[in-house]
């Protein structure tokens, strides 16, 4: 929860033995909003101050006399005021109301005032924060080639994306710490995830156009939720503007993959969102006629161009008291990938041996809709309430073709030379999130600020009728095709749905006072959240009706295939993916901050109590499948920021954080598979970590920045998936593994030279975790070889040792031109942990190049181009010994369009 102090009044009651001090607030003369990082200088003296996040400044120890106080702020006319400091005065107050500079206002986005969406504001937030934080502004997002919040996040130093096989980048890895350890927030509030596996909301569900900024907090303060070991990513949606704002954007584009391949699609309209059990009643006996076949009829056509658009309108009414903003964004894109996978097993000499060659084509159409509405009402100068509602909906339809050739045996040299099984799958996935917050902030007395919020959120993820058609080609034992006949194996239909509901309440109280001219701020508060999750899955397998020789029939068409549901009532009560989970979190904190000389200190402690329960809804086997958890954590933290002059800062932070296991990992289930069983682990403990950060920051001016930092983390009970040999039937499950460490170095540079800008960051990360890995031991002559375990020390999953971003910017205000060329480098990292010693899957070095351009046309229009993945970089996995595992290619993406902006 994060509410900025709108007002801050300093107590004047303390008595000073030293000179007088002057203090005050700098406001925008028109909107009465406070201005952050304005320079306040006493002319012809060395006394000066910079306003803080509340627009406050303070200059101490003044000798009585006559001065000129000068306030400067980018985008505003400089204000100069004559003041007299009489003798025997402790404190004087001078507020400033600056007038916007009309000349500069025309280029408001580039060099204007500290618009909330501007880079300057982003730098000021970073600079004035009491903890370690990085911010990407809306302006940067607007100029960048990025379409989703997750793509934006990866521009932040130390942030990489967990690039999944089909090209979706849902979650962020912060400084080598994988997504499970990082929380994601929207408007500072944790909202539930539509993802059936992850606790946190996937960032790729948020269209970038709705964002005001992305904040990546790398050191948590007590007022922040404690489950951010790697950090916290906060997507802040656009706020109601100061005056009428109308913005629109329309764009189109194409993907190189769609130029090169006809797009494969299927009939989505025929899909039923309910399975036969839900449609016709429990235990309904289905027949083949109950199942859709149209979603297994795949057609090729030239893909439609992409369409992206957004529209924002906002204004303030009733003497600027009521602010309203509505922002809608929609992105309809088509993309695809081709991949080849080498499936293998580890032989008794601990070497990989290929078993299958898998070729895959994926065609993905996604529609991403986001609606952001904010209303705020300033009742009076002491009271403000606001209401936010955000609705996000991503629907994806995916056609997948997969051909798997079994490579065991002689004469099997590549795809198509062995037993070939073919799977064609259609899948639509709809994820939606809705979150409504009612918030208020009240100045109770002149220096006590209370804020509260009530939040209701729900998230649903739905995969209705995922259909899969499995056929195969026969082959001779020695390799080679027996004939060209294709036989029908099975047709599968799966319905999956998960629903999360959260009710949260937050309240904070802040009290500010000063003792001997030292400003103290004490803040306390808490949150209570109750969550309910329900997961549902139902599978149907249709088997072919055997032909006269009791064999599978030759396959001709999915429309005419004669099949029957093998388990005609499905398995809704018995599917191990059916579970419910409840979680209640109660948290409280207290923190205090003050300035000692140039040292800003913030410290405090947070208490979080977690109460969880879950229930496996499988009723097939008698016994208890229900588990309860209760644990509490004390999470202390301290943050020091030492200002050297106005331009430099050194920060030191230490904090404790936790990561709770994902809900489904705790579920008491076992799935018996052909080669191994998979189970949850109800005994999993939550992870805890101590985190340390040291950072040097240099702000030569409002836009430029240089930062260098080091960090160290020590994580107890990290959670990893592992394989237990278990004597015969191996078991894959989740376990806690000792202690992991993670340290590294971060560099950030943003520098503008006239029309050119350079923005870069580099992160070195070195993490280490040790877990037992399977290794076969030869026993020499006795022949009793055994399965053994060796503790293997390795980096944590997802960690790249080297991560770098470099953007070259060109801006020409006169011509209204902005260009950006962005490189992204992500070094070798473990994409998948192998269960075997020395066989982890490494994602090879990845270099991405993208380009974007903005050109102002006339008064209101901007033409834009966004080109991404220009190098068509493959996503390639290999084992430590460079044995080929998998390679995906996606193709370049091109987008162009027109933006409209009207601001009164």
């Amino acid at each position: 929860m994060k509410i900025r102090f709108t007002f801050l009044i300093i107590s004047l009651c303390s008595y000073s033995l030293f000179g007088a001090s002057i203090r005050g607030t700098v406001y925008d003369g028109e909107t009465k909003e406070t201005l952050i990082a304005a320079a306040v200088v006493l002319e012809k003296t060395s006394f000066h101050a910079i306003t803080d996040t509340n627009g406050e400044y303070e200059i101490k120890n003044l000798v009585p006399g006559e001065y000129y106080l000068v306030v400067t702020y980018l985008g505003y006319l400089t204000s100069r005021k004559k003041i007299i400091v009489p003798a025997n005065t402790e404190s004087l107050r001078f507020n400033f109301f600056l007038v916007q500079n009309a000349m500069v206002l025309n280029e408001v986005n580039i060099t204007g005032k500290f618009n909330k969406e501007s880079d300057q504001n982003a730098r000021a937030t970073e600079k004035n924060a009491s903890n370690v934080i990085n911010v990407v502004s809306a302006r940067t997002i607007d100029l960048s080639p990025d379409l989703t919040a997750s793509q934006v996040a990866q521009r932040v130093s130390g942030v990489t994306l967990d690039r999944s096989g089909d090209g979706q980048n849902q979650y962020a890895i912060i400084r080598g710490i994988e997504p499970r350890y990082n929380n994601t927030l929207v408007n500072g509030v944790k909202i539930p995830s539509p993802d059936s596996k992850n606790r946190f909301i996937p960032l790729d569900i948020i269209p970038s156009e709705l964002l005001q900024e992305i904040q990546v907090t790398k050191a948590l303060t007590p007022e922040m939720e404690g489950d951010g070991i790697g950090g916290s990513i906060n997507a802040i949606m656009k706020d109601a503007p100061d005056a009428l704002l109308v913005q629109a954007q329309l764009g189109t584009g194409y993907n190189q993959f769609c130029f090169d391949n006809k797009f494969v699609s299927f009939d989505k309209s025929s899909i039923s969102f309910k399975d036969p059990d839900q449609l016709h009643g429990h235990y309904y006996t289905s027949t083949q006629d109950d199942f859709n076949r149209q979603n297994l009829v795949f057609t090729n056509s030239q893909a439609w161009p992409q369409a992206v658009g957004n529209f924002t309108i906002g204004d303030r009414f009733f003497k600027k008291k009521l602010g309203i903003l509505i922002s809608v964004a929609d992105q309809n894109t088509r993309s695809g990938s081709k991949s080849e996978t080498n499936s293998f097993y580890i032989d008794k000499f601990n070497n990989p041996q290929s078993t299958d060659d898998i070729y895959r084509e994926i065609y993905l159409q996604s529609n991403r809709l986001g609606i952001n509405a904010k209303i705020d009402y300033v009742i009076n100068e002491n009271n403000k309430i606001s209401f936010y509602n955000i609705y996000l909906n991503t629907s994806e339809s995916q056609s997948r073709y997969l051909a798997d050739t079994i490579m065991n045996g002689n004469g099997r040299t590549g795809p198509g030379t062995g037993y070939v099984s073919i799977s064609q799958r259609s899948r639509i996935q709809i994820q939606s999130v809705e979150s409504a917050s009612l918030m208020g902030s009240h100045m109770l007395w002149k220096n006590v600020l209370v804020d509260w919020s009530l939040v209701y959120s729900n998230a649903t993820g739905q995969v209705p009728d995922m259909a899969e058609l499995n056929t195969y080609h026969t082959v001779l034992a020695g390799g080679g095709w027996l004939n060209n006949a294709e036989y029908l194996k099975t047709i599968n239909h799966t319905w999956q749905k998960n629903i999360d509901q959260d009710y949260s309440a937050y309240a904070n109280i802040a009290y500010n006072f000063s003792i001997h001219h030292h400003l103290f701020s004490i803040k306390g508060g808490g949150l209570y959240r109750t969550k309910y999750r329900h997961n549902y899955q139902n599978d149907y397998t249709l088997k072919p009706i055997l032909e006269s020789l009791h064999q599978d029939p030759p396959f001709t068409s999915v429309l005419t295939a004669q099949v029957y549901p093998y388990q005609p009532v499905g398995n809704p009560e018995y599917n191990t993916s059916n579970y419910t989970a409840n979680e209640r979190i109660a948290a409280g904190y207290i923190q205090a901050s003050t300035m000692v000389g140039n040292l800003q200190i913030l410290g405090g402690v947070r208490y979080e109590s977690t109460e969880q329960s879950n229930k496996n809804l499988t009723v097939a086997y008698p016994g208890y499948r229900q588990h309860f958890y209760y644990y509490t954590d004390w999470l202390p933290s301290i943050h020091l920021a030492w200002s050297i002059g106005v331009k430099q800062k050194i920060r030191l932070s230490a904090y404790k954080a936790i990561a709770r296991p994902n809900y489904y990992e705790l579920i008491d289930y076992t799935v018996i598979g052909d080669q191994n069983n998979v189970s949850g682990n109800p005994n999993l403990r939550h992870s805890k970590s101590w985190n340390y950060d040291l950072r040097y920051e240099f702000y030569p001016n409002a836009e430029d920045v240089i930062m260098a930092g080091v960090f160290y983390k020590n994580i107890t009970d990290p959670i990893e998936q592992t394989l237990l040999a278990n004597g015969g039937q191996p078991l894959i499950t989740y376990m806690n593994f000792g202690t992991a460490t993670n340290y590294g170095l971060e560099l950030v540079l943003i520098k503008y030279f006239r029309n050119f800008g350079l923005s870069g960051n580099y992160t070195y990360t070195n993490s280490s975790i040790s877990s037992p890995k399977l290794y076969y031991v030869k026993s020499g002559t006795t022949g009793n070889d055994t399965t053994s375990y060796i503790n293997e020390k390795r980096p944590m999953q997802g960690q790249s040792r080297h991560v770098a971003n470099l953007s070259l910017l060109y801006r020409n205000t006169k011509a209204g031109l902005n260009c950006q060329l962005s490189f992204l480098f992500q070094g070798n990292r473990i994409a998948d942990i192998s269960f075997y010693y020395n066989q982890d899957f490494y994602q090879k070095n990845y270099l991405d190049l993208s380009f974007s351009l903005d050109k102002t046309i006339g008064k209101y229009f901007v033409f834009f181009i966004k080109l991404s993945n220009l190098l068509n970089s493959p996503n390639e996995l290999r084992t430590q010994d460079n044995y080929f595992v998998e390679k995906y290619t996606y193709g370049q993406s091109y987008l162009f369009g027109l933006k409209f902006k009207l601001k009164s």
């Binding site: 235990y283 034992a477 006269s548 086997y621 076992t670 109800p682 039937q729």
Partner: protein
């Protein structure tokens, strides 16, 4: 291959608890094994089960010659024993056509002692008066990782393979033996499985599926028409040791006998002696894969002697993925015969590691190396078994076996390798069904 979802909760606390119980049970195992090799297979009456209908948790003894009606799933807990005396008939109620289908299964987590005699056999069958294949009527007998002793002797099991609640076909009889996790890889075999002189008819998927570090004696059984479009009939996986001998397998959907080690974890390794089995018309319903009478695959060790393989799609497949160094020299004296011309090339399919061995008899035509069964049905797609697999005088199989073939002593009935190839010996020994 099917995935079936279950029921058992494996977490570690349970393991430590059960490993203690397993130790106690070990003692029981020793006692029972000795008993089974005795001629007298009378099961003592302790805790007699007197009611006619059974369901839910069950323990005690089903009484000789009594008929029981199974009207729900049966669970035998890990600390309990279900004993079944000779002559017991278990009629499994249920109806695969009902909504929801009523498919009942016998789940064994403890000890099963179903010990009939030739004269007084035990029968498990569905209540349906006229069952039709391929339709699963009940769920068979499923022994989980906690089962310790499983004896199935002189029993008849028919029309299994009904789906479990997750929708997967159930095997006629399966044992999933899992030893407690071991840090040094030496998994102790604790479960003993004796399946002898039984009859299995018309199931949907695998007939016998045995997994994990268990010891087995699978001898003298008759398996007919198991598996619909897939299903290995004796499917050995993941560290099973013991013998498969003197079985008669007719019309298996996929491989008649298959031995594998788990590809994910290679040790413990499956080590099986396969001798004196007869298999006819196997592998015709499973398409796409080179099915075989006997398949020795992924890192399995096996000895394969004295088997009679007739009219199977392929004969003996020992793949390059098997533990070939351990198999080398441990197979031979098998007789391959075919009335289907196209299959003669597949006795040892090209591309596999296995090659014809000393003592092997590979028939090249109808009158070459003819095993001369009393009756051989040449229709490999027949629905009913018209064969009489006993040998006539003058059979090429007589006296051609290797009596020095490896076998395992100490579990089940000791049946030494015969002098004739196949399950039925000309002197009347061998398979007694």
């Amino acid at each position: 291959m099917k995935k079936s979802y279950i029921k058992i909760n494996f977490y570690r606390q349970a393991y430590s608890l059960f490993s203690a119980l397993l130790l106690i049970a070990l003692a029981t195992v020793q006692v029972s094994c000795k008993k089974s090799s005795n001629v007298d297979t009378t099961v003592p009456v302790s805790n007699p089960i007197t009611k006619d209908s059974v369901s839910g948790f069950l323990k005690g003894t089903m009484l000789a010659n009594k008929t029981y009606y199974l009207k729900g799933d049966i669970y035998v807990k890990s600390t309990d024993t279900l004993a079944i005396q000779p002559g017991v008939t278990v009629i499994v109620l249920g109806n695969p056509d009902a909504a929801p289908p009523l498919i009942y299964t016998i789940h064994i987590s403890g000890t099963l002692l179903a010990e009939g005699t030739k004269a007084s056999q035990i029968t498990f069958k569905p209540s349906a008066s006229n069952p039709v294949w391929p339709k699963g009527y009940w769920g068979g007998i499923q022994c989980d990782s906690m089962a310790k002793v499983v004896h199935l002797i002189w029993a008849n099991i028919s029309y299994t393979g009904g789906p479990d609640v997750s929708g997967g076909a159930q095997f006629a009889f399966s044992v999933v033996g899992v030893a407690p996790s071991s840090s040094n890889g030496n998994f102790t075999s604790t479960t003993k499985v004796v399946i002898e002189n039984c009859s299995f008819v018309s199931g949907i998927d695998d007939c016998l599926r045995l997994m994990g570090p268990i010891t087995v004696s699978i001898k003298g059984n008759v398996i007919q028409h198991q598996g619909s479009d897939d299903g290995d009939n004796i499917n050995i996986k993941n560290g099973v040791t013991g013998d498969v001998a003197f079985n008669y397998i007719w019309s298996a959907a996929n491989n008649s006998i298959k031995v594998n080690t788990n590809k994910t974890v290679l040790y413990p390794q499956s080590k099986i002696n396969i001798y004196n089995n007869t298999m006819i018309a196997g592998g015709w319903r499973k398409q796409g894969e080179p099915t075989a009478g006997i398949l020795v695959d992924v890192f399995a060790q096996a000895s394969v002697f004295n088997n009679l393989i007739i009219n199977c799609v392929n004969g003996l497949r020992i793949t390059a993925q098997s533990d070939t160094s351990a198999i080398k020299g441990k197979y031979g004296y098998n007789l391959f015969y075919s009335t289907v011309d196209s299959t003669r090339a597949g006795y040892y399919p090209a591309g596999d590691w296995g090659k014809p061995q000393a003592g092997d008899l590979l028939s090249t035509g109808l009158n070459n190396n003819n095993p001369k069964l009393v009756n051989l049905d040449t229709d490999v797609h027949a629905m009913t078994d018209q064969n009489n697999p006993h040998l006539q005088a003058g059979s090429a199989a007589i006296g051609k076996a290797n009596q020095q073939a490896p076998y395992t002593a100490g579990i089940g009935t000791l049946m030494l390798p015969g002098k004739d190839i196949g399950a039925y010996q000309s002197d009347g020994s061998g398979n007694q069904r």
